[in-house]
């Protein structure tokens, strides 16, 4: 389901003004209308699916990451089968894809991209940011990942491997960032609050909440 449909709302005609739909939006709406007209799906099915998409956001991924940080057995299950481990937390995979969790370590930094389109772990992260779907990021992430990372303020030492995972069809990724220093006494909820969308894409790391001189609360 595209961003257009998501943003505009299916069948919305209110307040459109002089808005002119683009080529793909017209194609998408035509196909949706045909499917409804032929009884393959209902307008309510489409509305319901948008509801599913809207209910997914990076806070879900953050819960998964925080659980992996505090529970080594969960972490092992997550790395073995990301989809099944997320389902343990009630985060279902509504699309038929596998989830490979990419663990950052002191030796490897992971980054995800979809050079062909915009595959993204929507079930655990919601909709991708616009830059993730645009060609500059998609083309450069696989060609000069260190330069892309530097633009996000992420400098990876030369002795650390940068590993770029490019999604093609049936697999989605989730980067498991490194747990920042100084969080030993944090609760799972406090840890989850530190985890950002960009860290789970891999364009940044999670800074220690105590090193910048700020309060931990």
């Amino acid at each position: 389901m595209s961003a257009h449909m998501h943003d505009e709302g299916y069948g919305t005609t209110v307040g459109r003004g002089d808005y002119t739909p683009g080529y793909y939006e017209i194609m998408e709406r035509s196909i949706a209308e045909l499917l409804v007209e032929k009884g393959r799906i209902s307008a309510d099915d489409i509305r319901r699916q948008i509801e599913v998409l809207d209910s997914r956001n990076p806070a879900l991924g953050a819960r998964v990451v925080a659980r992996a940080w505090v529970d080594p057995e969960f972490r092992a299950r997550l790395l073995a089968n990301g989809r099944a481990a997320c389902e343990e937390l009630g985060i279902t995979s509504y699309e038929d894809t596998e989830l490979i969790v990419l663990e950052n370590t002191e030796r490897v930094h992971n980054l995800m991209v979809c050079t062909l389109c915009s595959c993204y772990p929507r079930a655990v992260m919601g909709l991708p940011p616009d830059w993730y779907k645009l060609k500059p990021y998609r083309a450069r992430a696989v060609k000069e990942p260190r330069a892309v990372l530097a633009e996000f303020g992420t400098i990876i030492p030369e002795d650390v491997e940068v590993r770029v995972s490019d999604a093609t069809a049936h697999v989605r990724f989730l980067v498991l960032p490194r747990r920042p220093a100084g969080t030993e006494s944090f609760t799972e909820e406090q840890l989850a609050a530190l985890v950002t969308r960009d860290a789970m894409i891999g364009v940044t790391t999670i800074k220690s909440p105590v090193s910048a001189g700020g309060s931990t609360r």
Binding site: R83, D166, A169
Partner: protein, 115 residues
Amino acid sequence: MASVAKTTVAEFPRAVLARGEGRVFSAGDQVRVSVRFPVGHYRVPRYIRGKRGTVEAVIEPRVVNNEEEGYGRNAGDKQHYYRIAIPLTELWPGYAGSRKDGLRIEVHESWLERS
């Protein structure tokens, strides 16, 4: 339950596999991505075609072949799917970063050749 397996151990070693059911490659195998230029829907980006890499993992279970499914042909036809590791220095001559840097990408069996 679906999972990413390093190897596949047949649960019934004596069972005879249907054509295409057994997988051609295993983790650790050296492979080359085919050089083909199909028109239309495909799931192998051009920048990896002709490049050499290593099978890192077999993705289980088999997956639908999107390139056929996209045209309503052989809908439901399953293919083996592999996670391939390719060094960035193999992809981009003159790559400026660390020699350790690498790509991981999932490729359908039909696009892989033994290298």
